[in-house]
């Protein structure tokens, strides 16, 4: 299936996957994922700076799913999950890749894409200012999110947000966010 995250990762990358999850993203799942990834990074003696960045980005990506995912389409195989998401954590050369996937209702795509584009055309200094502006001016939404997750991810990684929308049907697309957390020095 075109929206399946397992196919999204190319064959040769699969060896380095340290965690794969798809299903309901609730509080317990988040705890479990964080513990697992943290333990693995400690196991391989990952330096604390990178470890912290990965942990932070993982918290934000999981909680983005928790707070913002749209309901799954009516004909989707898994109807039990209220907050359906997919997650892959992968070891790459200089760090880690965190890939998330979730359904987005057609009417929400434009807003989400606009937000990402705004972040991606900003410099690191602009992202820092944007973060502070949202922190100081925007209240926590009814969904419980602060509207800062993506900005924080871009700020902490220093990398552009790599994303795509794969159409599922007329009403839904599957949204992939591909985050690289690497060791390069931030400017």
């Amino acid at each position: 299936m075109g929206f399946d995250i397992e196919n999204y990762i190319s064959e040769n990358d699969k060896n380095n996957v340290i965690l794969f999850y798809k299903g309901n993203v609730d509080s317990d799942v988040i705890n479990h994922v964080l513990d697992t990834v943290e333990d693995k990074m400690v196991e391989v003696n990952e330096q604390s700076k990178l470890r912290k960045k990965v942990y932070n980005v993982l918290v934000e990506s999981l909680q983005n799913l928790y707070h913002h995912v749209d309901r799954v389409p009516e004909d989707f195989e898994d109807q039990t999950a209220e907050k359906y998401g997919m997650l892959v954590v992968q070891k790459v050369d200089n760090g880690y890749k965190i890939i998330t996937g979730n359904f987005v209702h057609a009417e929400n795509i434009e807003k989400l894409e606009e937000k990402i584009k705004r972040i991606n055309r900003s410099s690191q200094d602009e992202i820092k200012e944007l973060y502070k502006f949202i922190l100081n001016h925007q209240r926590i939404s009814a969904k419980g999110g602060g509207g800062l997750g993506l900005v924080d991810i871009a700020r902490k990684t220093g990398n552009k947000l790599d994303y795509s929308f794969k159409p599922y049907n007329d009403k839904y697309s599957f949204f992939y966010l591909n985050i690289l957390v690497d060791e390069r020095e931030q400017s």
Partner: protein, 126 residues
């Protein structure tokens, strides 16, 4: 005023707010999904403390991780402290960050630039 003493969990910090000593501490990890639920009692408590604060209040923030949803709640805590400071009471925030944790240092600097209360950035060297 009864102090607030909360034991830390993997997702919520250890909190010690003692009005009799004027020393407040938030320590550990703050990454709950629902941060408002956790922080509201703290903000309400500070609202009461603000009515009759000590001449000097010291706040120690020693966070290892915090999520963006907590970041707004922490700002609410600081806004209460700012009000206490504005009413001519001494308030000092000690923002601790681990050696090499530039992200945590920057987070402290963000607050320092928003809140009109003296901040001290303190590096924890292991």
């Amino acid at each position: 005023m009864e102090p607030i003493i909360i034991e830390g969990t993997p997702k919520t910090p250890t909190v010690k707010f003692d009005a009799s000593e004027g020393v407040f501490e938030i320590k550990g990890r703050s990454i709950p999904e629902n941060s408002v639920e956790f922080y509201k009692p703290l903000v309400d408590w500070l609202d009461s403390y603000k009515e009759a604060p000590l001449a000097k209040t010291v706040v120690n923030i020693k966070l290892e991780y915090f999520n963006t949803s907590s970041s707004k709640c922490i700002l609410d805590v600081f806004k209460k402290l700012e009000a206490i400071h504005k009413a001519k009471n001494e308030v000092e925030v000690n923002w601790y960050y681990e050696e090499d944790d530039e992200d945590m240092l920057e987070a402290g600097e963000d607050y320092e630039s928003i809140i009109r209360v003296p901040f001290k950035m303190i590096e924890i060297v292991e």
